[in-house]
Symmetry: C2
Subunit: 224 residues, 2 copies
């Protein structure tokens, strides 16, 4: 395995979203490039990359934003305007609170305080296609179905001169499914969503950062 | 001392901007509220607050943005439009590269690849008042002079029901001067800019995170 792509919240952090400091120290020692892949906005991922000491190549907004350098070129996909239309439709029936509205470039994020399944049913009933609601456990995202962390991994791998099969991918949430599937070794940490565990090559016993350490050892990215 | 307000880059991080993990562990153990105060954008500070485990009250953009909760109300001061006018004037003479343009709400940040003193002289010669260029060592900020981390600390203290004198403040850069002055105990870490050391109550021997640990022990915020 030649590189690692890894989710932040719930994977490198615990349920309170605090960084596992022991795991961060190990990540910092790895000799392969480490790509952070998050549903959060680029500003958040940039901070995590600097603080932890990972690569300047970053995946944000569930794959809708790929940054090829810390202050480098940013590739945006998805369709924020279409997501905003859908927000308008759902907002007629649910009391929705948008998060990080200013910073989001490819999709929208909402506070997790509404009936997500009822909202999904409304999209089905309204024949609204091409848009999905993804619950990461930290926020609900309104995004286009054509963009995800898996499509972003394909993009990043190509730009790095690698194949997606060269990557170990580690995550915990439903928004990690396509990335875990695309990678050579897809890992779900012990606290992961059942749907992610179903598609993972490896499910760790340890949760959160402890699960990451386990995966790094099992994949031989970390051999100490 | 009842609270801590602390800079991120060059204070909690090293010269490569990597978090001092040992210091982060100590910060996480403190019993007083810890407020992060950065020149960076709010998305960056929010990430640092979550990963380290500090308060949801945050100071970003050199005091121009104060957030009173993680996804809570944000108070914006400064005058971004005026900063943009000045950027236009300076841009006629220098090759300037704006950073985080989309995310900034109160001021501007530029890559540190131009003659800052020459640009400052141009502001003086052009009789452009009320605007200053602040070099944090990580970026050059174009900001209004009426807003800084010190004015933000006044605001935060008031909202927390505290006095600025109740705060220990720790920083490393010229943009920390007013905050260090406003606090009850103002600390410059060993790697700090000479202008900050000049106004500090305490200058630590240790640099970066090691200096922070020294200050936490000296101020008795950390007693283990």
């Amino acid at each position: 395995m030649k590189a690692l792509v890894i989710d932040i919240d719930g994977t490198l952090t615990d349920e309170q979203r605090q960084l596992d400091l022991r795991t961060a120290a190990v990540i910092r020692e790895l000799t392969v490039p480490v790509i952070l892949a998050s549903g959060n906005v680029l500003g958040f991922v940039k901070c995590a990359a600097k603080l932890i000491g990972t690569s300047d190549i970053m995946i944000a907004e569930n794959g809708g934003v790929v940054s090829m350098g810390f202050d480098g070129p940013v590739h945006i996909s998805g369709d924020k305007a279409r997501c905003q239309e859908v927000l308008g439709i759902l907002g007629e029936h649910f009391n929705l609170e948008e998060l990080d509205g200013l910073e989001r470039r490819s999709e929208l994020a909402l506070r997790r305080n509404f009936d997500i399944d009822a909202a999904r049913q409304m999209l089905v009933d309204g024949n609204i296609r091409g848009i999905e609601l993804v619950d990461t456990g930290f926020a609900v995202h309104i995004k286009t179905v054509d963009v995800n962390k898996g499509t972003a991994l394909v993009e990043v791998a190509k730009l790095m001169g690698l194949d997606t099969g060269d990557f170990v991918a580690i995550g915990d949430s439903a928004n990690d499914i396509e990335m875990i599937r695309a990678a050579g070794l897809g890992v779900a940490v012990g606290n992961a969503h059942p749907a992610l565990k179903d598609v993972a090559d490896l499910v760790t016993t340890g949760k959160y950062g402890a699960g990451v350490l386990e995966a790094l050892k099992d994949s031989r990215l970390y051999t100490c």
